[in-house]
């Protein structure tokens, strides 16, 4: 049992743990949201195809990953600024996509 609980092979770090806790929290919050407002709130937004709020979260996360990669590839400024753009992008997706 002790061997099973030894997760040192996964090479955990505090930042990556915070990252996964944030993702898990987002998914939990979406579940709570869905519980109180079921149906996924489908609508046709800027991209001209129907999205539910789960789709919008997926688009936000995937787009944010590419914003961060683009930031790392083309900018030498702090990634925190790139993360700020990700938050703005996610807000735009949740409001208008």
């Amino acid at each position: 049992m002790e061997g099973l609980l030894d997760l040192s092979w996964m090479a955990w770090t505090k930042p990556t743990a915070i990252f996964f806790i944030a993702i898990a929290t987002l998914l939990s919050l979406m579940t709570v949201w869905e519980y109180f407002s079921p149906g996924g709130a489908p609508r046709v937004g800027l991209l001209r195809f129907e999205t539910t709020r789960g789709d919008r979260l997926f688009v936000s996360l995937l787009g944010s990953a590419f914003i961060c990669l683009g930031w790392l590839a083309f900018s030498s400024a702090s990634l925190w600024i790139g993360l700020g753009f990700c938050v703005i992008y996610a807000l735009v997706v949740f409001l208008w996509v």
Binding site: T13, T16, P38, F49, L62, A65, F66, L69, L79
Partner: protein, 294 residues
Amino acid sequence: MKMQHNKAWFMVLPMLLVVAVSAIIPLMTVVNYSVQDSFGNNEFFWVGTEWFQEILASERFHNALQRTLLFSGLILVIEIPLGISIALAMPRRGIAVSFCLVLMALPLLIPWNVVGTIWQVFGRVDIGLLGRGLSSLGIDYNYTQDVFDAWVTLIVMDVWHWTSLVVLLCYSGLVSIPEVYYQAARIDGASRWSVFRFIQLPKIKRVLLIAVLLRFMDSFMIYTEPFVVTGGGPGNATTFLSIDLVQMAVGQFDLGPAAAMSLIYFLVILLLSWVFYTVMTSLDNDSNSAGRGR
């Protein structure tokens, strides 16, 4: 809207557990590796986003990505129309149906490494049927030394191995079309092309979506066959992302850069699959709503 039958979600829990162990935990480990450096002995040192910056600026990564995208593009362009054509030409009734279906299923039953070995021997100029045959016809063919020949061999091999999947999926869609549609088309005097464009294609669109997605993802992640046939060569001409990734992770034991590369690779697959899925389901929804509007 009232929620019903929510207890059914508990049935998904065992699968969730399997996915957690087989996919989520390894993915978490890869994320952890991607921000650290290791010299073995399970010791890691924090490097932040250094590996991501290194991979994104690496010419080696760009070239491998371009090769993989080109390979997947060629595979889709060849296998999808070819698969549809064969499915359309296959018989719908009689004993020939079983024969054709078994014949089509045969390549799918062969393991990847065996397919690679078959084509590796088949294409050899000294002992292979294909290699010797082409040489005796005066065609200068050598997949181990010529870049074009290596690409042609890999593409023909993949077409041979996987077009059957597209055929079987399209065929399943075609046989599910009720006969009354064809009767109506005959009464209207519809041409062969019109029958395909307005009856068969819309009806097989959903299975075609699955075929496109499966073939894209599989060809974008192809590893075993090119590794066995060409080993990524000649030079790096057939070193696709997966081969490059394994060379980096296992060959060079650069776990950090390999983890960063595999995450970028994963994100590209996720993005392209989502785009394919969204575009094709949107087209499907548009045609359905247009059909209802008539």
